[in-house]
């Protein structure tokens, strides 16, 4: 079984502050971590390896310091780590990012063989778009299960997996054929406390760097310039006014409420 996990390094949200003058995030001095949802994707992939054998590859796109995140993934039990790192990727939106990751994945497949399950976190805590995983599934043209909370059965021999996923107000269970793409919720598993030999292995392993010259990536499809998403404005949402609290009781309250609502309804042309 070959799993490929897409991970992202993000600033630790618990420690990010907002610069109220510019409306941007102050990232200076904030520790970088693996996107928390991605850690569960890694764990799920490593559990597959523990059960069925095979290997786990991890791929990330980011600045050189994202190597730390990949090393962490290695210490969690991944075997091969790749970092897409090139100026041409800078400013990519989710569309361009999934393109670059897709191209990077081709390289990983070339080196480590076909992938049975592609994994990612359900979303990154810095952008919160939840689009990269689905974007990758589309480009790879494979079935997609987002927001996975439980692996019910995996059968690599017959080439299917049954996954429970979170939906609004409940959950649903899907069976998909492999290869497939699964994005993880935190409920998917509990992270392991890695054994020491894995930590040592992680320090010793190398992270392979991918860029526009050693992959088939087309720079004309990456980066800020080639991203269809345009940021129009970044702003801090204005604080919502505190609601009015009414304290009369019994029948009285209905009258008071009606008095409040009537003019609004009139204005809307509803009465």
């Amino acid at each position: 079984m070959h799993s490929l996990v897409f991970i992202k390094q993000v600033p630790d949200a618990a420690q990010v502050r907002v610069d109220y003058h510019t409306g941007t995030l102050i990232r200076e001095g904030v520790p970088a971590i693996i996107n928390p949802y991605d850690t569960h994707a890694i764990e799920a992939a490593v559990q597959m390896k523990d059960k069925f054998g095979g290997i786990v590859s991890v791929l990330s796109m980011g600045p050189p310091m994202a190597e730390e995140a990949l090393r962490k993934a290695l210490s969690m039990g991944a075997d091969k780590a790749y970092l897409l790192c090139d100026k041409v990727f800078a400013g990519s939106d989710t569309w361009a990012t999934s393109y670059a990751l897709w191209a990077g994945a081709q390289k990983v497949i070339q080196e480590n063989g076909p992938v049975d399950i592609f994994w990612a976190g359900k979303q990154a805590i810095d952008g919160d778009t939840a689009q990269t995983g689905p974007g990758l599934a589309t480009r790879l043209d494979i079935p997609l299960v987002t927001c996975a909370i439980k692996i019910i059965e995996a059968n690599p021999e017959k080439g299917y997996i049954i996954v429970q996923r979170l939906i609004e107000g409940g959950s649903e269970t899907l069976q998909v054929s492999m290869p497939c793409m699964i994005t993880a919720e935190k409920e998917l598993n509990d992270l392991r406390f890695s054994p020491l030999p894995d930590l040592i292995k992680a320090v010793k392993s190398s992270v392979q760097l991918l860029n526009s010259t050693n992959t088939t990536i087309d720079p004309a499809q990456c980066g800020l310039k080639n991203s269809p998403t345009k940021v129009k404005r970044v702003f801090i949402p204005s604080k919502r006014e505190r609601g009015e609290i009414l304290e009369p009781s019994g029948k009285e309250i209905a009258d008071v409420l009606f008095e409040k609502i009537e003019p609004v309804l009139k204005q809307m042309g509803r009465v």
Binding site: P31, F193, S194, P195, L196, L199, I200, V203, K204
Partner: protein, 433 residues
Amino acid sequence: MRKNDFDVIIVGAGPAGLAAGYVLAKEGISVAIIERGIFPGSKNVMGGIFYRSSLDDLIPDFYKEAPIERHIVEQKIWLLSEDSMFSTGIKSEKYNVEPYNCFSIFRAKFDKWFAKKVADASAMIINETVVKDLILDGDRVIGVKTDRPNGDLYCDVVIAADGVNSFLTKSLGLRKKITTNNVALALKEIIELPDKVINDRFGVSGSSEGVTIEITGPYFDKMRAIGFVYTNRNSLSLGLGVVTEDMVKLKINPNDLLEKFKSHPAIKPLINGGETKEYMAHLIPEGGYYSMPKLYSNGFMVVGDAAMLVNSIHREGANLAIESGKFAARTYIEAKKIGDFSQKTLSSYQKKLEDSFVLRDLKTYKNLPKLLEEKQYLISKYPKFIIDAMYEMYNVDKVSKSEKIKLIMNKAKKELGYFNILKDVFSVWRDFR
């Protein structure tokens, strides 16, 4: 016999452990540094004045690439009473030329940088792992147990660089009992201010020049307390170290004390308008020479704060940690040549420290902790007298200067007593002779 995983295992990636690791790795010795924090520096609190010379031996001109805040051009000492401040110190252009004497730094950034250097020298740094115990063969240390599954590691020598609470030295029984008189509780805040504001308030001509202020005096009542204010690029490190015994005895809430410190009329304008960004507390071993543990055992050496190597009066700790780390590493290299890691061979580590400024300085100040324990008033009553005398001499109120001197002398007689002054002078002289 079991195969070694590494030649040397160092516990703790502070300055002591990193320095030892660097020297060993450069010699091609296989070494692992085990750190419980998520990265080296993540658990470290330091007011932040780092002296150049000890690290410069290892990484020449390190300050040109390391993350430093400001080089220090002026060091001041302030004595505070309720409403006054007496100031002395040294500012020199000699401090303003490369290679600088010392720097303000943030340990979280600095240690991370240092660790990268050490890793590049091919020492293995293992983070997020706690050493729980030593593995012994008879009375010989042969490895460590960590909190990780399959977490035992074997080696020739373990170097304990695990800081002030050194659990390892305790577990081997090398440590003397640490009393509340031997450790200070240090509190520290980082207060953010624009660099231009800092430059103006501290009278320096650029954002790379810095100032330090060490503060004591009757304002801290009967406590053995030293306050400090150090300039970083865009913030101030402000804090206090108080001998824990005094805090307990006088039932002082450390936070109240810090607030009191910040509200002093001489301190307040320095931090005015600043935003407190971080707040930290940590212990500093201040017991000095007499509180040191035995520094070595079979297959074992102790470095840095774990060995209580801090010169509190000169706020030297990180540099002594580095110095001791180097000596321990060199001792291992010599021991490896003869293939013997017994106490007898490793005792040359202590010898090296004794021949260097590290233990010479600690010996010079060896009686200081005891002296201040018995005569706390040396840093409250005398400063008060100096402040009052100074105030009097500059206060023109038509009393003649000779009259004023008489008044001051009378005050000295009343508050301190001539005979007591003589006794104190003698005991200080005797202790530092």
